[in-house]
C-alpha cells in the first residue's frame, strides 16, 4: 500500500471510526516508559504475545533437542554417546571400553519431557498464547483484552510453570519418566520409579500453574471476542483466525478443569494415602495396602481433556492457515460459513471421542463402538475444511511467501495425518496399531508437524506486525523445504514400523528378533531428524536476526490484507489505534472483487453504491 493510501486509511478512521473517548483517558504511556513495565510486566497484548512466542521458542529448542538425543539412542544404539557426558552428566554411563550409554531411566524421562513440553508449553501456550494475544484484540478492533491485568497474569503463570518444569530437569532423581499422559501407577506412587518421586511432584505443580494460565487466558479471550468487538464487527464478519481462537479458548475453559480434577485425585493418591487410582499393587516385591482404585478412571479424566487438547492445538493453526491462504491466494476463503460451522462441529465432537485412546484398556467393546462412530464423524468437518482450503488455492493468484508455503504444507500434513486417524479410529484395527509407531506417526504428522506449520505460517506472516520488520525470505524458504521433506522422511517410515507392531517408547529394538531388521530405517529416521533440527536452528537465527536487522516495514499493510491489524500504525502504542477505532463495514475476505480497483478491500472501507445496491437485492 502506498503512503497516500495509508493516509486515506488514517483519515477514514478519524472521520468515520468509532469514538470510544480513548483520548480523554490516554495520557501517553507514561507508566510504560520504563523497561520493567514496558517489556516485562507489560499489560499490552502485543508485548504479551511476544513473551509467549519467545518462551515457546525456548521450549521448542529444548523439547526438540531432547528428541535428537533419544533418536540417537534409537538410530545408533551401539555407538558411544560419551560425547554427551558434559551435557547429561551422570545420565551417561561409560563402560571400561570407553563406550558411553544413555541411562534407560533417563531415556524415558526424555521421551516424557519431550511430549509434555511440546504439547503443553510449545503448541498450547506458544501457539494460542502468542496468536490469541496478538490477533484477537487487533482483528476484532479492541484496544486490548477485556482484562489486561489477568492477561499479564496468564503469561506469568505460564512462566512459573516453565520455571518449575525446567528445574525438574536437573533433579538428581531425574524428571518424571512415565509418559506425557502420566498414567498411574507410575505417576501415583512416588516409589514406582526414580522419576515418580520429586520429578512427578514438580510435574504436577508445573502443570497446575499451567492450567491456571490457560484458564486466565481463555476466559479473557472469550470475553474479549464476545464483548469488545468494534462497531460493525458482527460475528459473521470476524476473520477465521478469531473464530478458531474463540473456539479454542472455549475448549480450554471446559476441558482443562477436568484435567485438574484428575490431578487432584492423583495428588491425594500420592500424598494422602487414598486409593482413587490404585489397587493391589506390588512395588519391589512388597504388596501395597491400596485396594479398590481404578487406573482406568485416570485415563477417562485425562483423555476427556486430552482429546479436546489436541484440537486446542490444531484449531489455532487452522485459523492461521485459513487467513494466510486467503491473503496470499488473493481470493476469498472458500466456504466461509462452512469453515465456521466446521470449527464449531469439531469443537463439539472433540468432547465425545476421548475413549478412542482407550480401546485397548479393557473398556466395554460396546462402549467402544459408540466412540468409533463419533471419532469417524470428526473426519467429516475436517474434510470440509481441507476441501475449502484446496478450493481457496484453486485458480488463486498465489504468492509463494514463506508464510504461504507453510500454510500449504499445513494442509498437506493435515491430510496425511488425518487419514491415518481414520485407521486408528476403528477399534478392531487399533488392536494391532495401539501403542505402536503407527500412532506416533499419526499424531506427529497431524498434530506435531501440522501445528508447527500453522505456527510458522503465522510467525512469517505476522512478523512485520510484531516487530516492524520482515523475516528473511531466502532463509524462510530453505527452512520450509528442508522441514517439509524432512518431516515426511522422519514420520512416513514410522507407519510401516508401526504396522509391523513395533511398540512406542522402547529403549532399543535391535535385541528383538522381530524388530531388528528395522535398524537401517531407524538410522535413516535419526539422520533426517538431525537435518530437520538444524533447519529449525536456521529459523531461530532468522527470527532473532530479523528482529534487529530484518528489512524494515515501510507501509502499514504490506501483504494487502483486509483485516484490521493492518490499519494500525507500524509501531502502535498501547491501545492500538491512536484515535478512533475503525468501524467495520464488510467481512474479512473481499479479495479480487469484481469491479474493485484493487485486489483487496479492507474491512473498514464503506460499501460502494454498487455494493449497497447489490446488498439490497439479496
Amino acid at each position: 500500500m502506498s503512503s497516500s493510501q495509508q493516509h486515506e486509511t488514517d483519515v477514514l478512521i478519524r472521520e468515520q471510526g468509532y469514538d470510544d473517548h480513548f483520548h480523554e483517558h490516554h495520557h501517553g504511556d507514561k507508566f510504560q516508559s520504563n523497561f520493567i513495565t514496558h517489556y516485562i510486566f507489560s499489560q499490552d497484548h502485543k508485548i504479551i504475545a511476544r513473551q509467549f512466542l519467545i518462551t515457546g521458542i525456548f521450549w521448542a529448542i529444548i523439547g526438540a533437542g531432547m528428541s535428537i538425543i533419544f533418536r540417537l539412542q534409537l538410530g545408533f544404539p551401539d555407538d558411544s554417546l560419551a560425547w554427551l557426558k558434559p551435557l547429561l552428566g551422570k545420565w551417561i554411563t561409560i563402560n571400561e571400553a570407553g563406550v558411553g550409554a544413555l541411562n534407560p531411566e533417563f531415556y524415558y524421562a526424555l521421551v516424557t519431557m519431550h511430549g509434555t513440553i511440546i504439547v503443553f508449553f510449545v503448541l498450547t501456550a506458544g501457539l494460542s498464547g502468542t496468536f490469541a494475544n496478538l490477533l484477537i484484540p487487533f482483528q476484532v478492533g479492541a484496544r486490548d483484552m477485556a482484562s489486561p491485568f489477568l492477561n499479564m497474569l496468564s503469561y506469568w503463570f505460564f512462566f512459573l510453570a516453565s520455571v518449575v518444569m525446567f528445574f525438574s530437569l536437573f533433579l538428581s532423581t531425574g524428571p518424571f519418566a512415565g509418559g506425557w499422559t502420566a498414567y498411574p501407577p507410575l505417576s501415583a506412587l512416588p516409589e514406582a520409579s526414580s522419576g515418580s518421586g520429586a520429578g512427578m511432584t514438580l510435574w504436577l505443580v508445573s502443570l497446575t500453574f499451567f492450567v491456571v494460565s490457560v484458564l486466565l487466558g481463555g476466559i479473557n479471550y472469550v470475553t474479549t471476542v464476545l464483548n469488545l468487538r468494534t462497531k460493525g464487527m458482527s460475528l459473521w464478519r470476524m476473520p477465521l483466525t478469531v473464530w478458531a481462537l474463540l473456539v479454542t479458548a472455549i475448549l480450554g475453559i471446559l476441558s482443562f478443569p477436568v484435567l485438574v480434577s484428575g490431578f487432584f485425585l492423583l495428588m491425594f493418591d500420592r500424598g494422602m494415602g487414598t486409593s482413587f487410582y490404585l489397587s493391589e499393587i506390588f512395588v519391589n516385591g512388597h504388596a501395597l495396602e491400596n485396594v479398590g482404585g481404578s487406573p482406568i478412571l485416570y485415563q477417562h479424566l485425562f483423555w476427556f481433556l486430552g482429546h479436546p487438547e489436541v484440537y486446542i492445538i490444531i484449531l489455532p493453526a487452522m485459523g492461521l492457515t485459513s487467513e494466510v491462504l486467503s491473503v496470499h491466494s488473493r481470493k476469498p476463503i472458500f466456504g466461509y460459513k462452512a469453515m465456521v460451522y466446521s470449527i464449531l462441529a469439531i469443537g463439539f465432537l472433540s468432547f465425545i471421542v476421548w475413549a478412542h485412546h482407550m480401546f485397548m484398556s479393557g473398556v466395554n467393546p460396546f462402549i467402544s463402538n459408540f466412540f468409533v462412530i463419533f471419532t469417524l464423524i470428526i473426519a467429516v468437518p475436517s474434510a470440509v475444511k481441507v476441501f475449502n482450503w484446496i478450493s481457496t488455492l484453486y485458480k488463486g493468484n498465489i504468492r509463494f511467501t514463506s508464510g504461504m508455503l507453510f500454510a500449504i504444507g499445513f494442509v498437506s500434513m493435515f491430510i496425511s495425518g488425518g487419514l491415518t486417524g481414520i485407521f486408528l479410529g476403528n477399534s478392531a484395527i487399533d488392536i494391532q496399531l495401539h501403542d505402536t509407531y503407527f500412532v506416533v506417526a499419526h499424531f506427529h504428522i497431524v498434530m506435531g508437524i501440522a501445528a508447527f506449520f500453522g505456527m510458522f505460517a503465522g510467525v512469517y506472516h505476522w512478523f512485520p506486525r510484531m516487530y516492524g520488520r520482515f523475516m528473511n525470505e531466502t532463509m524462510g524458504r530453505i527452512h520450509f523445504w528442508v522441514t517439509m521433506v524432512g518431516a515426511y522422511a522422519i514420520f512416513w517410515p514410522m507407519h510401516y514400523i508401526g504396522m509391523a507392531g513395533v511398540p512406542r517408547r522402547y529403549y532399543r529394538f535391535d535385541t528383538f528378533d522381530a524388530f531388528g531388521h528395522f535398524a537401517g530405517l531407524n538410522e535413516f529416521i535419526t539422520v533426517a531428524a538431525i537435518i530437520v533440527f538444524a533447519a529449525q536452528l536456521l529459523f531461530v537465527f532468522n527470527f532473532f536476526y530479523s528482529i534487529w536487522y530484518g528489512r524494515k516495514m515501510t507501509t502499514q499493510n504490506p501483504w494487502g490484507a483486509n483485516t484490521l491489524e493492518w490499519t494500525t500504525p507500524i509501531h502502535a502504542g498501547h491501545g492500538n489505534w491512536p484515535g478512533n477505532l475503525p468501524t467495520v463495514h464488510r467481512w474479512a475476505y473481499d479479495y479480487s472483487k469484481e469491479g474493485a480497483e484493487k485486489d483487496f478491500i479492507q474491512q473498514h472501507l464503506p460499501l460502494t453504491d454498487k455494493e449497497k445496491a447489490e446488498a439490497e437485492n439479496h
Binding site: D20, H25, F41, A146, T223, N227
Partner: protein, 195 residues
Amino acid sequence: MNTGTASGIMEQKTRKGIHAPLFALWAAMGSMVMMFGSLTSAYIVRQAAGNWLEFRMPDIFYYSTVVILLSSVTLHGSYWAFRNGKETMYKLLLPLTVLLGIGFIIMQYQGWNILYSIGVALDGNPGGSFFYVISGIHAAHVIGGVFALTVAMLHAFTLKYKPTEKRRRRFQLVLHYWHFVDFLWLYLFLFLLIQ
C-alpha cells in the same frame, strides 16, 4: 501500574451491552461446573465398579445446606436493599451473609470430623474418599466466596453509601458467585444423598 492507559482500555468494557467482568465470571463458573461435573462422573464410574463403602450422611450436612441456602437469601436481600436505598438493611444483611458463610464452612468441618469418627476415612474406601474430596474442593470455593463477601462488606462500611452503577456491578459479581457456590452445593448434596 499503567493506570493512564488501563482506564482508557477499561472504558471499552460495556461496548456490546454485557458487562465484561460479569461475563468473564460466568465463563469461569462454566469451568468450575466442568470440574465438579467430572468429579461426580468419576464418582459414578468408580461406584459402578463395585467394592464401594455405603454410609449414612451425618445430619449436620442437612443443616449446613439450610445455612448456605439461607445465606443466598440474605445476600439477595442485601443487594435488593442496596439498590433501593435501604442503607441499614443493606449494611445489616451483608455481614449476616458472611457469618452464615463462615458457619457453613465450620459445619462442613464438623461433618468431616463426625464422618471420621464413624470410621469413614479419607484414605479408606474410595466411597468415603470421594465424599471428602468433593465436599472439600467445594468448601475451598466457598472460602473464596467468603473473601469476596468480606471485600464487599469492607466497601459497604468504609465507602459512603451511594448506589452507583459501578458499585452495583461490583456487588453483582459477588452476588452471582455466591449464588453459584450455593446451588453448586445443593447439587452436590443431592448427588451425594441419592448415590
